[in-house]
C-alpha cells in the first residue's frame, strides 16, 4: 500500500507541477488543487497507514482497543483541506478579475496591473 500511495503522490505532484506551468489560468488553478491533494496525501501517508481503524475511542474502554490511525495528521489535513478550498476560490476569482482587468486570457500577458 505504501508504494501505491507513493506512486499516487508522485503522479499527482507531477501533474500539479505540470499544470502550474501552463499559461492558461484555469489549468494553473486545477494544478493548484491537485498539488494540494498531493501534499495532503503525503502528510497523511508519512504518518503511517492503518487500515480500517479510525481514531475513535471505544465507548466502554475509555481508550482505543487496537492500534488506530494517527489522529494528528488527520487533524492537520482536515483543516488544510478546508483552507485549500478558500485559497482555491480566492485564486479563481482573482484570476478572473485579473483576466477581466488586463483583458488577457494568458498568464504571460497578465504582467502588469496598470491598465
Amino acid at each position: 500500500m505504501e508504494i501505491l500511495m507513493a506512486l499516487v503522490v508522485g503522479g499527482l505532484y507531477g501533474t500539479g507541477v505540470y499544470l502550474l506551468l501552463r499559461p492558461t489560468p484555469v489549468k494553473v488553478i486545477i494544478g493548484l488543487a491537485i498539488l494540494t491533494n498531493a501534499v495532503n496525501l503525503l502528510i497523511f501517508t508519512a504518518a503511517r497507514l492503518t487500515r480500517g481503524h479510525p481514531p475513535i475511542v471505544e465507548e466502554t474502554l475509555g481508550r482505543p482497543s487496537y492500534p488506530i490511525a494517527d489522529p494528528v495528521p488527520q487533524a492537520l489535513v482536515l483543516t488544510a483541506i478546508v483552507i485549500a478550498f478558500g485559497v482555491l476560490a480566492f485564486t479563481l476569482v482573482l484570476f478572473r478579475r485579473a483576466a477581466e482587468t488586463t483583458e488577457a486570457d494568458n498568464l504571460d500577458e497578465m504582467r502588469t496591473t496598470d491598465t
Binding site: V9, I34, P54, R96
Partner: protein, 767 residues
C-alpha cells in the same frame, strides 16, 4: 542639555497643531523655545570660558559602547548658540514668508526636527550619537529642500543633496567606527586625550580619508560641492538656515572637533589645504557668473566653507582662531543676505540680478541692512567680516608650505568676494529701476527684523570684537587647541602688510565689479564648450545605477509565473534529490500495509484522471477529472481509517465543483498557448518532481516513527476533552487556537472573494 534637544524634538511634534491653532503668531511661538535655549547656552558662557565642560550621559546600547552622551565645551557652545539664535530668527521670518503656504505646520515640524538634530550633532559626545544626528540633519534637509514637492526640480535637488551627503555620511560612519576601534572608546571627550594613539595607528590614513569625505560632502567641498547650489530650490529661510548658517557648517564643526585627534600630520594639513583652496577659489569664480541671487549666495557660501577648511588645514596655531571668526562672520552676514534675497523675491517676484534695480527708494530699511551685511561680506571695517579676513590674510602670510600659491588664492578669493558683495547690493538697490520689478507693498516687520538682527549682530560683534573674542571665540579656539595661548583679537592692528592687503582687496574687488560683464560673457562662452565636472559625473552614476537596476529587475522579476515556478521547482528538485542521494539513496519501508484489489483500481483511476487533466483540451473535462481525483482521495481516506477526512474531502470536492460551475462560463477557454518545446521541457521537470516526491514519500515511511503524540491524544481524549472522536477533540479542544486561526483565514478568504467581486468600480465592470 539633553533635555534641550528633547524639548526641540517635542516642539517639532507639536508644531503642526500649534500652527493650526495660532497661525498669525506661530513664528513667535516657534521662536520662543530656541530663544530660551540660546539664553540658556549663553548662560553657560562663563563656565566654558573657564575651560569647564558639561557632560550628560544616557545609556543606549551599553553592550556596544554606544551611549546617548552629550558634552558642552567652548566649541559646541558656539555652535549651539548659533543654531538656536539663527533658528529663532528663521522661525519668525518663516511664519511670514510662508504664510500663504498650505503646509506651514509641516514646515515648522521639519525645521524644528532639523534644529533638534543639529543641536544633537554639535553637542554629541559619543561618535555614534554624533553620526545619528548627522544623518538626521541630512534626512530633515531632504524634506526641507523638497518642501515644494510639487516641483520636479525641488524633488530631484532634495534627492541629490540626500544622496551626496548620505554617501558622505556612510564614509563618516566607517571612519568613526575605525576611530572607535583604534582608540577603544567612542566618547569624544575621552578621544581628545588619545590623539597620538590614533595618529600612530595603522588605520590612520583610512580614518582621515573617510572622515574627511563625510565632512567634505556635508560642507559642499570640491568635488561634492554641486549639491549646494541645487539645494537653493528650498524655500529661502531654509537656504538661510541650513545652507549658510548651520548644516553646511556641520562639516566644519567636525573638522574642528577632530583636528586635535586627527590633525597635526602632513596628510591632514595637505588634504585640507588642497581641497579647501581649490573649493574657495573655484567656487568664487563660479559665483560671480551667477545672475540668480540665491545661486550667487550659494557659490559664495561654498567658497567661504572652502576658506574655513583651508584655514583649519593650515599648520599655524592662529589658523583655528581665524577659521572660527571667519565662520561666525559668515553665519551672520550670509544668513542675513539670504533672508534679504527672500524679501526681494517676495516683493518683486524676481531674484534675477539683471532684472532688479532701484529698490533702495522703495525699501530703505532692507537696503541698509543689505549694505551692512554686504560690507561684512566684503571684509570692510568695522564689521566682523573684516576681523575674519584680516586673520585670514595674517595666517596665509605665515603659510609654511606653498606660500605664494596660498597667498594668491586667498587674495583672489577675497577680491572676488568683494565683487560678489557688490553684485548683490549695488545694482538691485541703486541700479536703474525697472517698473515691472518694483515691490508691491511694504515689507512686514517680521520679515525685515531677522536680517536686521543678524546684520546688526555682525556689526556690533565687529565693533566689540574684544568682548566677543573673550567670551565666545576664545573658549571655542581653546577647545580645539587646548593649552595654546591665543592672542586677543582686535579690530585695529596698526599699519601692517595685512592692512595693505585689505585695502588692495577692496579696491580690486570694486574694480572687478565694473569689469564683471566681460568676465561673465567669457565664462559663459567657455562653459558652453566644456561640459564636464563633478555634477555630470554624479548624473552619469545616478542614471547608470537606475539602468542597471531596471535591467536586473527585468531579468529577476519578469512577471512570468512560469519562470518563477520553474526556478523554484528545478532548484528544489535538484537540491533535494542530491541530498537524498547523498544520504543513501531511495529507501523502502520494512513494514507494509496490505493492498487489496480495490486500492489498485482506485489508484489507477486517480492517476488516469490526473493524466486527463494535464492532456485534455476542454475545460469541463478537466474540471470533472479534477473532481474524480478529489473523490478518489476521499475514498482512500475512508479506506485508511480517516472517516472525518473522507467526509470533509467529499463535501469540499462537491463545493469546488459547484464553484467551478458558477464561474465556468466566465473563465477563458483553453488554448494551446505554450510552444511544444516548452511543454516538453515542463513535462520533464514535472516528471522529475513527481519521481522525487515518490521517493520522498517512501523515505518518509521508511524511517523510525514517533507515536508519542498519537498515544497522548488517544489516552487523554475522553478524560480531558470529553470526546471519543480524537480528531475532533484535537480540533476543538487540544489545538483549538490553531483552529481559531484557521477558520479566521477561511472567513477572510470568503470576504476576500466577496470583496474582489463586489467592491469593484462600476464603470470597470463589463456590461
Amino acid at each position: 542639555m539633553g533635555y534641550a534637544i528633547c524639548s526641540v524634538f517635542l516642539l517639532a511634534l507639536l508644531a503642526p497643531g500649534l500652527t493650526r491653532i495660532a497661525k498669525p503668531v506661530s513664528g513667535w511661538l516657534m521662536a520662543a523655545l530656541p530663544l530660551t535655549l540660546c539664553v540658556y547656552f549663553l548662560s553657560m558662557l562663563d563656565a566654558t570660558a573657564g575651560g569647564l565642560t558639561l557632560q550628560v550621559t544616557w545609556p543606549w546600547l551599553p553592550d556596544l559602547g554606544i551611549r546617548l552622551s552629550f558634552f558642552l565645551d567652548g566649541l559646541s557652545l558656539l555652535f549651539a548658540v548659533l543654531v538656536c539664535g539663527v533658528g529663532a530668527v528663521i522661525m519668525i521670518y518663516s511664519a511670514d514668508y510662508l504664510a500663504d503656504h498650505k503646509c506651514l505646520g509641516s514646515f515648522f515640524l521639519f525645521l524644528n526636527l532639523f534644529m533638534a538634530s543639529m543641536l544633537g550633532l554639535v553637542l554629541a559626545d559619543n561618535l555614534i550619537t554624533l553620526f545619528v544626528f548627522w544623518e538626521l540633519t541630512s534626512l530633515t534637509s531632504f524634506f526641507l529642500i523638497g518642501f515644494d514637492h510639487d516641483r520636479d526640480k525641488a524633488r530631484s535637488s532634495a534627492l541629490q543633496a540626500l544622496l551626496v551627503t548620505g554617501v558622505g555620511g556612510l564614509a563618516l560612519l566607517a571612519g568613526l567606527i575605525l576611530v572607535g576601534e583604534a582608540a577603544g572608546t567612542l566618547e569624544l571627550s575621552e578621544l581628545l586625550q588619545s590623539g597620538d594613539l590614533i595618529r600612530q595607528h595603522a588605520w590612520y590614513v583610512p580614518i582621515v580619508l573617510l572622515v574627511a569625505t563625510g565632512a567634505f560632502a556635508k560642507s559642499a567641498q570640491f568635488p561634492f560641492h554641486f549639491w549646494l547650489p541645487n539645494a537653493m530650490e528650498a524655500p529661502t529661510p531654509v537656504s538661510a538656515y541650513l545652507h549658510s548658517a548651520t548644516m553646511v557648517k556641520a562639516g566644519i564643526y567636525l573638522l574642528l572637533r577632530l583636528s586635535p585627534i586627527l590633525g597635526q600630520t602632513a596628510l591632514w594639513h595637505g588634504m585640507l589645504e588642497t581641497v579647501g583652496g581649490v573649493t574657495m577659489l573655484g567656487s568664487i569664480l563660479m559665483a560671480i557668473r551667477q545672475t540668480d541671487m540665491k545661486r550667487l549666495l550659494a557659490y559664495t557660501t561654498i567658497s567661504s566653507l572652502g576658506t574655513m577648511v583651508f584655514l583649519i588645514g593650515l599648520d599655524i596655531p592662529l589658523s583655528i582662531a581665524a577659521a572660527i571668526s571667519y565662520m561666525l562672520a559668515h553665519v551672520l552676514y550670509k544668513a542675513s543676505l539670504f533672508l534679504i534675497t527672500g524679501i526681494i523675491d517676495h516683493a518683486t517676484g524676481s531674484r534675477d540680478l539683471s532684472a532688479l534695480g532701484g529698490l533702495f527708494g522703495k525699501m530703505p530699511v532692507i537696503g541698509l541692512v543689505a549694505i551692512l551685511a554686504a560690507l561684512s561680506m566684503a571684509g570692510a571695517a568695522p564689521f566682523l567680516g573684516f576681523v575674519g579676513k584680516e586673520l585670514f590674510y595674517e595666517v596665509v602670510l605665515m603659510a609654511p608650505r606653498a606660500a605664494p600659491l596660498s597667498i594668491l588664492a586667498a587674495l583672489l578669493t577675497s577680491i572676488f568676494m568683494v565683487t560678489s558683495a557688490a553684485l548683490l547690493t549695488v545694482r538691485p538697490f541703486f541700479g536703474p529701476a525697472r517698473s515691472d520689478r518694483l515691490p508691491h507693498g511694504p515689507v512686514a516687520t517680521n520679515l525685515w527684523l531677522g536680517p536686521l538682527l543678524l546684520a546688526g549682530a555682525g556689526t556690533l560683534a565687529g565693533v566689540f570684537i574684544g568682548i566677543i573674542d573673550k567670551s565666545l571665540l576664545a573658549p571655542a579656539v581653546s577647545a580645539v587647541q587646548p593649552g595654546h595661548s591665543v592672542k586677543p583679537l582686535a579690530l585695529w592692528h596698526g599699519f601692517t602688510p595685512v592692512l595693505a592687503f585689505s585695502i588692495l582687496t577692496l579696491a580690486s574687488g570694486i574694480a572687478v565689479y565694473f569689469r564683471c560683464d566681460w568676465y561673465r560673457a567669457w565664462t559663459e562662452n567657455w562653459s558652453r564648450r566644456h561640459h564636464y565636472g563633478a555634477e555630470t559625473c554624479y548624473e552619469r552614476l545616478y542614471s547608470g545605477l537606475f539602468t542597471i537596476a531596471s535591467r536586473l529587475t527585468l531579468i529577476i522579476q519578469n512577471g512570468r509565473l512560469r519562470n518563477y515556478l520553474l526556478t523554484v521547482f528545478i532548484s528544489a528538485t535538484v537540491l533535494v534529490s542530491s541530498t537524498l542521494l547523498w544520504n543513501g539513496g531511495i529507501r523502502f519501508p520494512t513494514v507494509w500495509t496490505s493492498v487489496n484489489f480495490g486500492d489498485l483500481i482506485l489508484a489507477g483511476i486517480i492517476l488516469a484522471a490526473a493524466y486527463v487533466t494535464s492532456r485534455v483540451g476542454h475545460r469541463l473535462v478537466a474540471i470533472v477529472a479534477m473532481g474524480v481525483i478529489g473523490y478518489g482521495i476521499a475514498l482512500i481516506f475512508a479506506q485508511l481509517g480517516a472517516p472525518d477526512l473522507a467526509m470533509t474531502q467529499f463535501s469540499i470536492e462537491t463545493m469546488t465543483v459547484l464553484l467551478f460551475i458558477l464561474i465556468f462560463h466566465r473563465l477563458p477557454l483553453f488554448s494551446r498557448l505554450a510552444p511544444r518545446r516548452a511543454m516538453r521541457f515542463d513535462a520533464v521537470v514535472a516528471t522529475a518532481a513527481g519521481l522525487l516526491m515518490t521517493a520522498l514519500t517512501l523515505a518518509a515511511v521508511s524511517g523510525p516513527t514517533d507515536k508519542r503524540l498519537a498515544d497522548f491524544f488517544a489516552k487523554q481524549s475522553v478524560p480531558a476533552a470529553h470526546g471519543r472522536n480524537i480528531v475532533n477533540t484535537i480540533l476543538v479542544d487540544f489545538r483549538a487556537l490553531d483552529t481559531l486561526g484557521e477558520i479566521a483565514v477561511l472567513g477572510m478568504a470568503g470576504v476576500g472573494v466577496w470583496a474582489l467581486l463586489k467592491l469593484w468600480p462600476k464603470e470597470r465592470r463589463k456590461p
